[in-house]
Every structure is written in C-alpha cells, then in structure tokens.
Symmetry: C2
C-alpha cells in the first residue's frame, strides 16, 4: 500500500516543482489522508525539500477512522507545551531550516490568521498557493479506491433495504434517520458518510433536508438520502417512495419526470463528456416540464474521501469527465407545500468498452408504494 | 427575543467603532447565530455602516437546527446564478456601496483565498481584523442561554441514566454510542452536541476516543462522554463505571484520584478565579500522584453554541472567570494498555451568594459497578 501514497506524493511534488515551489504543505485533512494514508486530527503533511514529514499535534491514536498511516512516512509529534503549537507553523519552520525558498500552501483551507502566523516564523520563505492541486489529483480514483466506494455503496443499499421491510407509518423523520445510521454501522460502515436525510410529505424531495419530528403518513412521499463511510470513502444514495395505498396522479407524474431526468444524467456519463453537458442532460428534461426553478444549482458531484468533491455537475462547471471518476447523479424537484422527488445514485465513469457507467448503488428506482 | 440579538449587535458595533471600523462582517456560523438568532448554511452577517443585513446563499429553509432568525433583521438572499456567489464577497461589495471605509472581518475563520476575493471587489475598502470579538461577547451567558444549557444537560443525564439500566456486557462501543445518541433525540435534543464517545477496557478514559467494535467485558472500565444539542446550546457529561463484580484495587485508586481532581476543579470555579488556577487545582492532584504526563493539556473549556469555546481551562490560559460562564471540568487519566478514568461535568460559574457553581449534569459520580 505504501508505494501508492509515495507515488501520489511524487506526482504532487512534480506539480509543485513545475509551479516553482521546492516544497509544499498540505493541511486539508482529506488531502493529508490521500497522500499519507491517514490523517490524525490536526496533522499536516510537509513535502520536501529533502524528505516528506507528517507533523501531528498528538501521537496518532491508531483510530481506524483516521486511516492507516504510510509507515514509510516520517512522523513528527509536537512535544506538549512546545513553543510552536500549530503543526502548520512548525512545518514552515522545518521547511525554512531545510533550506526551502518557496513553500506552496493550501490557501483555500488555511485561515488568514493561521497563514500570517506561518509567514511570521519564516519571513524569507515565500508562501505560494498550492490551490486545488491535491483535489485535482483525487478526482480520478484507482481500483482500490473504487473497491472501497463499491463496499460503501453496498452497505447503504443493505441499510436502506432493511428499512423498507419495516413499518414506516407513524415514525418520525428523525427516528428513521437514526435507524438508518445504526444499520449502516451494523453492516460494517465506519459511520455515516454524511448526516442521513429523511423527508416526508411536504419535506420530501428537499435536498439536504434535516430530519424533523414529522411523522410518516399515508399518502406521503418519503425521500431518503444516506451513505456509508467505508475506510474513509463515502457513498451516496437517494430514493423516494410513496406510503401506503396507490400513488396520486401528481406523484406518479412527478416521479416519472425526475426518473427520466436522472436516467438521462446517468446515460450522459461517458469519458470526455463536459461536466455541464451531463448536467444539461438531466436539467433540460425538468426544465422542459416547467420545473426548472425548482431544481438545485447542480445535479451531481464527485465522491471519494469527501462526500462532496470535484467534479461539480453544474451548468457553469468547466472540464470533462475521465474514466474512473465516481460521481453522483441526483436531480430532484420539490414543490413547496406538497413535497417532491429526489433520485440519487453513485456511479463510476467507465469506457463504453468496459460496459459504460458502473452503478454502485443498486437499490431499485421503480416507484415503490410501501 | 429580537431585542436580545439587536442588543448583542449594538455591543459588537461599539467594539468595532472603538477599534476604528465603521462596519463588521461576521462569517463564523456560531457567531452569526449568536447575533442573528439563526445561521442558515453559508449565511454571513454584515453590521452597518447604515443597517444590519444577513446575506444568505439560499432562502432559509426554516430548519429548526438553524435557529430562528431575528425577524427584525433585513435578509438578502443571493439570486441563483448571481455574479457574486459568495455572500461574504457580496457583503464587502454592499459595505463599499454603503460608503464604509473599513470593514472588520473574522480572519481566524476566513480562508486566505476567500479573504483575497473579498479584497478584490473593493480595493479601497480596508479589511481589518475582527479577531475573536464575537467569541468574547459569547463567554458570559444570559439566563435564557443558561436555561437552554440546563435542558441540554438534563437530556444527557436522562439518556445516560437509561443506558445504565440496560445490559452492557457483550455490546460494542459503537452500538452503545449510537443508542445514547438515539436516546438524546428521544428526550428532545435537536441532536448530539458532539460525537458520543464510549471507551471500554484499554480504551476507557481516553479523551475523545472514537467508539470501536470492542465489546464490553467483565472487569472493564467503561467511560462515556456525551452531550445534547438543545436549541443550539450544547452540554457535556462524562462518567466512568466498572463492569460487573467489584472494582480492582487499581481501578478504585485511579477513580478516587480523578474524582478528587475533578472535585478540586469544580470547587475552584468562583468569579474572579484565573483560568489557569482552576486548571492547576485539578492538575496538581494528578501531578502529585505521578500521573501528570497522562493528563490532557487542559482540564476544561467553555460550552454554549459550540461544544468547545472560550474560556480554555489550561496552564497557559490568560484571563479570569466571570459569573454566568458555563464550563466543563473534565480531568482524566488514561494508562496505556490498561484504560483509565474520565469525569466530566458542565457547570455554570455563580457568585458564592448565589450558591456557588451550578452543576448542570447531575448524574452521580460515585463509582458504580454495573
């Protein structure tokens, strides 16, 4: 495993060298984990000039949720009560003493106050901007990463499947969400990938709806969005159901519309496709039905070590899909006061020759009446 | 309620004026909520020069977890697809057009990249540092805030009390933690105040231990740390128990030591006491027993809208306690490989005449054998 991380660090070093920095400091936790195998709370990763060094405020607790650190990587734990308490500041000092002249840092993660403290310990050292270099490296996943995402998706499918077999009427959104999160853990998740969303009746179909005390009623739409965190990799699945009896006409109509848009988005997932074209494929169907303004500003996003990472599937997004990029396709329409539908899958972009987009979240998308 | 928030904003304006800024921009969510009554995701609060304005990227969803916005406060929702998508950047532009010459911003919260974007829309506007001004205002609570903390503490006591009545042997740390979080919600919490920590055997007594799959065994120490979020206010309680039979001598010894240290810390909570002296009161007892290096760098912290806020109860902390400041007292000792003890209460500093420190978390602290 170790060479995987070493290889990622080499690729980042090359980018920095090309940009004129002999050293880089990675502080964003997901980026640290990507390059070091793990991210003890508060730890930062210094790349070069001579060697790579993980600086941590505390000794790694061996907490599985932090991942397993690359044992080839040199680790430095700041002594308690050290003059420099912030590992990022200590890293700048280390880079200075190692003779670096320029250090690329993550200006999109470091606060102004922290960046100033880093500059003050090494006035001669130029602090450059690493920008999203690590996030860019993270977009295309290797097969080990995809294997973790596949398991994370399976776990979410299992948790959701069990919920559907239970009695739902009369239970609150909050309790359904808590039960789903417990089942995720039962099936081997390190935890939920993000706060589980359960929306009933007028709350259904609202993206990111936080569960309330509203109880499931006959005739409700019930929309659920959950995901598992497995070894740091996060899946996402969203489904919408109707409760009891048979769906009303408006429910069937709205469901068919969102389903058609979601399918169009999935089918647009081919290597080389513009992000914005994938978004348009789903968006234009909902626009065409006059629900455009009810649609979220984006219809999908990348997943991996974070539940929301690049690429963004949105009208103004720049860039093209590559193979082995996992993304969500999640259009939804919410009608204020009535509720709505959201259908959300995690898929991996694959070459046509490899069978096209690989669907990781396999729970049925037909409209189930529960 | 509205005048409470207006009054807080007036006090902040006064501080800014004294520091030479005619306007301030608050971006840290807990600070926005403190001053505006609520904090829709991504919203920022602009104070002055003429009026106060809450800028939000989306229309507030009326999510109770976001709090209830001060209805006297003017709200501006950024139009979807606006040229300026970041409310903080839009706020700078608004302040510029309103004729502000200096804007104090939260440099400890804003990233370097975001701060640069804010500067670029108004090169003539001087961006000053608001630093921790709002955090300072938040330290002393009013009785309404303390009432929320009291309820948050009661809820955690109830959840913990129910767990103690159930069978524990054979269950995993993870499942005990999930059950506690479910019970918090059952008793009216908006959610857990922080990830519930359950440590058994060798994991017991580790501060911030994340629950693992280890199962509770006879003879274990079991340490639990949880809290409730009630209307945004967060309580914290930590207890340690022994499982089955009678405690071993080393367990009784260690428990008595930590208990004595925690009591000393509680008794040191008087208005006017130096933070560091409160820390020393607890620390010196554990130092005296030769376990000093096993002790965390601090023995307590403030609680409120965040689970970890000022003041810090630590050896190097500067400042004195005031009345109506809620803090935790949470010394713990963890012996690698054997486990340990952690005892954690939330209390409110009160004048002696008012009965001294008010204990919010009332679950017994005698060593229970379960």
């Amino acid at each position: 495993m170790s060479e995987v991380y070493a290889d990622r660090r080499v690729r980042l070093r090359d980018r920095c060298a090309a940009a004129g920095s002999t050293a880089a400091l990675v502080s964003r936790p997901a980026n640290v984990r990507y390059l070091a195998g793990g991210s003890p709370p508060g730890a930062v990763l210094l790349l070069g000039p001579d060697e790579d060094l993980l600086l941590s405020p505390v000794a790694p607790g061996g907490d599985p949720a932090d991942g397993r650190l690359d044992e080839e990587l040199r680790l430095s734990v700041l002594p308690a009560g050290a003059a420099i308490a912030d590992p990022a500041v200590a890293a700048v000092d280390t880079a200075r003493r190692a003779g670096a002249d320029s250090l690329a840092v993550e200006e999109h993660h470091l606060t102004v106050a922290r960046h100033r403290a880093m500059g003050s310990v090494a006035p001669q050292l130029r602090l450059a901007d690493l920008a999203g270099a690590v996030e860019q490296l993270r977009i295309v996943k290797d097969e080990d990463e995809i294997a973790c995402l596949r398991i994370a998706a399976e776990i979410a499918d299992q948790a959701l499947g069990e919920l559907l077999e239970s009695i739902l009427v009369g239970r609150t959104e909050r309790h359904l969400a808590l039960e789903l999160e417990r089942r995720l853990v039962d099936h081997g998740a390190d935890g939920a990938a993000f706060p589980t969303s359960v929306g009933t009746g007028p709350n259904s179909g609202r993206g990111g709806h936080r569960p309330s005390d509203r109880r499931v009623e006959e005739g409700d739409f019930l929309s659920v969005c959950l995901g598992a965190n497995y070894r740091g990799y996060r899946s996402e699945i969203g489904r919408t159901f109707v409760i009891g009896t048979t769906p009303a006409d408006w429910q069937i109509e709205l469901y068919d519309l969102v389903f058609a848009a979601q399918r169009a988005g999935r089918e647009a997932l081919v290597p080389g496709a513009e992000y914005r074209d994938v978004d348009r494929a789903a968006r234009q169907i909902i626009d065409g039905a006059g629900h455009g303004e009810a649609l979220a500003p984006r219809t999908g996003h990348g997943v991996g070590l974070e539940i929301d990472e690049d690429p963004q599937i949105a009208p103004s997004a720049m860039g093209k899909l590559d193979a082995c990029v996992p993304v969500t396709v999640e259009p939804g329409v919410h009608l204020p006061g009535r509720g709505g539908v959201r259908i959300d899958d995690t898929l991996v972009v694959r070459q046509e020759a490899d069978g096209g987009p690989e669907l990781l979240t396999i729970t049925t998308k037909e409209l189930l009446a529960l």
